[in-house]
Structures are given as structure tokens and as C-alpha cells.
Amino acid sequence: MLELQQVSHKIAGETYIDNISLKLERGTLTVLLGPTLAGKTSLMRLMAGLDKPDSGDILFDHKSVLGVPVQKRNIAMVYQQFINYPTLTVYDNIASPLVVAGVKREEIGRRVAEIATLLQLTPLLQRKPAALSGGQQQRVALARALIKRADLVLLDEPLANLDYKLREELRAELPRLFAHMGAVLVYATTEPTEALILGGNTVCMHAGRAVEVGTTMDLYRRPAGLLAARLFSDPPLNTVAVTGSAGNFSFHQALPAFRLGNNVSLSGDFTFSVRPHSLQTEKPASNAIALPATVAVTELSGSESYVHFDFCGQAWVALLHGIREFARDEQVQFWVQPEHVMLFDANQQRIALAAN
């Protein structure tokens, strides 16, 4: 188990990691989700031992590893840029951690063959990295990390430099590769879709802080705060300010009031938010909320349509099934069911409405 206790890290006076505490069990995958500069790489470097935290403690299996140099820790790391030894063949690249560890030659051969089959690299074993495509190079880097059977495997946006399609393919394979490893897996990414597909647990990061921690699906469906809700939305989350009065809510424009949930004590300023795919153009149920809109632009993507429109002065986007084209400045009525609405209070904490 990897444990971080109130870890903080500053570089040149700027706080890169702010008081983070985490417990990561063996055999689990933890996703670090957040935008660039959120601190994901900094945190991973602290976990690996490449940097020393300014305060706090890092323990592995209940023993502090703060003074232990990186070479002595049993970790593996995969980077965004495909890092391979350019002068070694694929076989030697994958075998390198075992060679360093002094493993016997036959054993090395066996294990390299096993990993190569897993990552579909067997026909490429005698080539040099420069002769491989980006996807293949990253597979080699992955193989090198996996063969080590490390206790801690850190992956820093490993698919970010790959083509969209390659990313999809590799992403689908990752859960299979990581299963049965018994290591602590940490995976950093900026894409919420990746987090959702990988599953496991997620740590939402923002400005060096761990904003929310929990099971990925939980954080997606029931985020505790607005920040986590935003992080998990791709396309971006639609939000608008509303005012509540004893359980009745109204937009800041001349539109009918509506009810959300059964809590009559809700009064004050709130943030009303809807995920783009929850918006519909036909009224789905009698208690659906009406959202009249002015279309700005429509983007068609084969099987889906992204309709960007203006609602109460906010730029919203709806994800509709099928090809739905609207003209610019067309007035369209959108609907959303109350159970798909997420309401956040003035402190950006989510209010539990009856249905959620």
C-alpha cells in the first residue's frame, strides 16, 4: 500500500503540491485526473522518489520511504514521450530492467517473450525503436515497465502523444494488462473519458490539491463538488446561476419557476448544472424543465450532434443523438429531467436532491 500523509511540495516559492493525503492499495488503479499544471506529474515524481516533499511523509507498506533513493525503490514509470533506449533493440529494451537486476538469461528470455505476446510486440523484437511507429514505441515502454513486476507503476499521460485511434486501441487493452499485477497503479490523464474507461479510483486534482477522491463511477455520477463535476465532463459541463426560495427555483430571467427534489428548505443562490447528453429536444416527462435557447453553431460528428447555444447568457452545449442541424440564431426548446440536474450551493458543494 502506498500512503501519502499531508505531503506538500514547493519549487522556487510556488506551491506545486498542497497538503495531499492518499491511501492507494495494491492491486488497484488510481487515476489522477486534472488539467495541465494541476500537479499530476509533480505528485507522481514525489511518489517515485524523484523529488523530496517539503513536508509530510510517504510510506510504502507502512514503512517510510522518504530517504530511499529512486534506484532502490521497486518502481516503474511510463512517460508521455516514448522513452526507449535508442541504441538497443526492442528485446534489449524490454529486458534492460531484468539485466540490471541480474536475472538469468533463460529467465529473461522467457519473461520477455511473455510480455511481448501480451503487448503484440513479438514480430518487432529485433528492431530498433527508431524504426517503430509511435504506438509501437509506447508499447515497448509499457513492456519495459510491466516486466519489472514493480510494486508501484506510474503512468504519466502515456497515451497523450498517440493518434486518436491508437489511443482508443491501447486504452481498451490497459485494463487487461494491469489486471493481476498486484501492484499499485497510478495513471495521470487530462481526459475524463480515459478515467471512466479505466475505472478504479480517481483523484481529482486542481492547483496542487486533491479536490475529491473516490471510485471513478461514484465521482462521475455523484460528485461532491462543482470542480469534480466539471473535470469529469467532456463536452464541458453546462452551468447557470439560479435562485431558490423554499424549494422553488428560478433562472435569472423571465422563465417559469420549477421544483427540484423535495427539500423545501433550499433557499439562496445555487448553481444549476446539466451534462450535455442529458439535454433533449422533446419533452421527456411532465416534470421536465424547459430551457429555451438560441442556437449559436451546430457541429455534426457522424452519429451525434453538438449544438452550442446561448442560455441565460451562458454558452451551453447539448449532445444529441443522430444528425440534428439547426440554423444560427434559431430558437430551440430544450428539456431536462430533474433527476439529471446537479445542484451546487454557494460553496460549490452538491446538494443531494431526492432522486440522486
Binding site: 491508437l166 487530462t190 474507461i197 462521475y220 447528453h277 449559436a296 455534426l300 452519429s303 452550442h308
Partner: protein, 359 residues
Amino acid sequence: MACIELQQIAHRYSALPGEASAYAVQPLSQVWQDGGAYALLGPSGCGKTTLLNIISGLLRASAGRVLFDGVDVTGLSTERRNIAQVFQFPVVYDTLSVADNLAFPLRNRGLKIAEIETRVATVLQLLGLEHMARVRARSLNADDKQKISLGRGLVRTDVNAILFDEPLTVIDPHLKWKLRTELKKIHQQFGHTMIYVTHDQTEALTFAERVIVMYEGAVVQIGTPQELFEKPAHTFVGKFIGSPGMNVLPCATDAGNLLLAGKVIGKLPYSASGAGQLELGIRPEYVSLVATAAGNPDSLPAVITAVEDNGKHFVVRASINDMPISAIVREGAAIPESPRIILDPAKINLYRNSHLVTA
């Protein structure tokens, strides 16, 4: 604004001794209409950036001619072709402020100061950088630097075309959406000819009116996003577009019926005679799962291997007789444990030797 025409353009890089050089761009002729929004879509190494550089003049093609509005510009240098190009990595002049960066191309062309200021102000507002106008470009983060790069491409109004080379690669997902929409709005508002190179099919399909799919230097298909989605001309296009891509399964015919895994699943929509492997392609969006065979005579039994939840819908990975097939199931719908698969007959495409068979 200009109509760009490529006549028999081909390019190969000089071969190393002893090696036959491959075509980076195979001979192609293409007309880009004035004011159109195009996307060049394809995997890494397919030649899309090479083609873009041939259009902009940064690269001189080994063969063929480039014409702008009927005028041969093949010999003209980049500066004289009057195009703007945005690159994948942010290119900013570190010592200049944000506003000066945007004004740079205009100043070099000798525009009047008042006009420069108006243009710069418009673009600053478009990209949300007004509050940073005086900040030195050196101290900004990658997102803002790429916005400046984009801005420099948009600040000139009289360009023949604006070319984008995977410009949103380094941008975070949330900002990617915003910028893409801005580009589309700009196109609708100003009507420049825009050519956008990308390997991301969502970017290509949402931005372009016509998409050119390339693979290993050759143009595989040209069409609207709709056409590419519904009727891919090649199984490569079918698999490349769509997330997940099209399911391609070997099939057979028998007396006017279509057979999959030995079972009749419907009538053959049109004659598909010929030599070579016959395959059917169907998108996961048009594959549905039902619980029982009752009332579904054309359904096939399948085994589910995995279910992915990406928040918007479920992607069900299954297999029919060891042939992998994916289906998309909407949120809220139930996934039967031992499902039977139905393929929407209207959405089945037939492929012989990977090429689309048409009626």
C-alpha cells in the same frame, strides 16, 4: 479567399542509396472550393502534413502544380502565396507582448496602425486574451501560447486560406471544445477557406464540411461527415471514423440471403457478386441487443466479453462465434445477460476486398 486547386500533386522524399523511395503523397488532384471548411484526416505518417505544406509552399512537391484562383503558384514562395498557417506546437515571439505578437504579421505587411489595432483587438476578444494584451509572451502557459499562435493565423483578413496543422493537440480537453467552436464560428462569420489537418476524427467531423481521409499517402475517401459515417468507401475509413469504429465481419451469401456465422440474418440488399473476401460493416450505433430469440428471427446469439461505461453510453464488447463485435447501448437501457444481437438491415454495408460494394 481563393479556390485552391491541386493538379496531379505527388511527393516523394529523396531516397537513401539502395532504397526505393516511397511516395509521401501519392498522385492526387483535388479542388478546394473558395470558402470551404475542409479536414485532412488520417493516422500519423499518412501524408496529411506533407500535403498541407505543399499547399502552403513550405514544401515544394516533386510533381504536379498548385493553383490559387487559376494562377499557377507552384513556384511561388510561402510569403507570396498569402496564406496563414497554424502549427501543432505554439510558435510565439518570446520578446514581444501578446498584442505585438498578433500585430507582427500585419506590421510586416505594412498595414496602417489604426487598422492593425482594430484587427488585434478583435482577435484578442475572440480568444479571450484581452486582459493579457500587454503581457510578454514568454511567461505564458502552453494553452495561451497556442491561442496566440492561432490568433496570428486569424488576424489577417485577406488571406487566401488558413491552414491548421493539428493545432489543438497540446490543448486541454475543455479548452479544445471552446476553441474548436470558435474556429467554426469564425468560419461561418468570415468565410475563409480553411483546411484543418488532424488525426482526431471528432475534430475533423465536427469542424469540416468535407473531410478527406488519407492513408499511407493516398486519398481514401472524400465526403461530408455524414457520408463518411454512413457509407465508408473502405473498411479502413469505417474503422477509423466513429468511436468505436465500424464492426467488420466476414459474411457469406446464399440465394439472395445474407449469412453471418452461417445463419441467415436477412435479405441481400443488392447484388454483391465478385471475387475476394466478402465482409459486412455495421456501426456499433446500429447494433442492438435483445434478450430472447422470440420475435427476433434474424438475431444471433452472442457472448459479452466486456462492458465499458464512458458516462454517456455503454460500449458492449461481445463476440459471435469468436468474431468480435461492439454495440452501443444507451444509458438506462438494460443489457441482457445472454443477449442476442440484431443488426439494423438498412445500415449494413457490404465490402468486397475491403472496398464498398454499391448497388
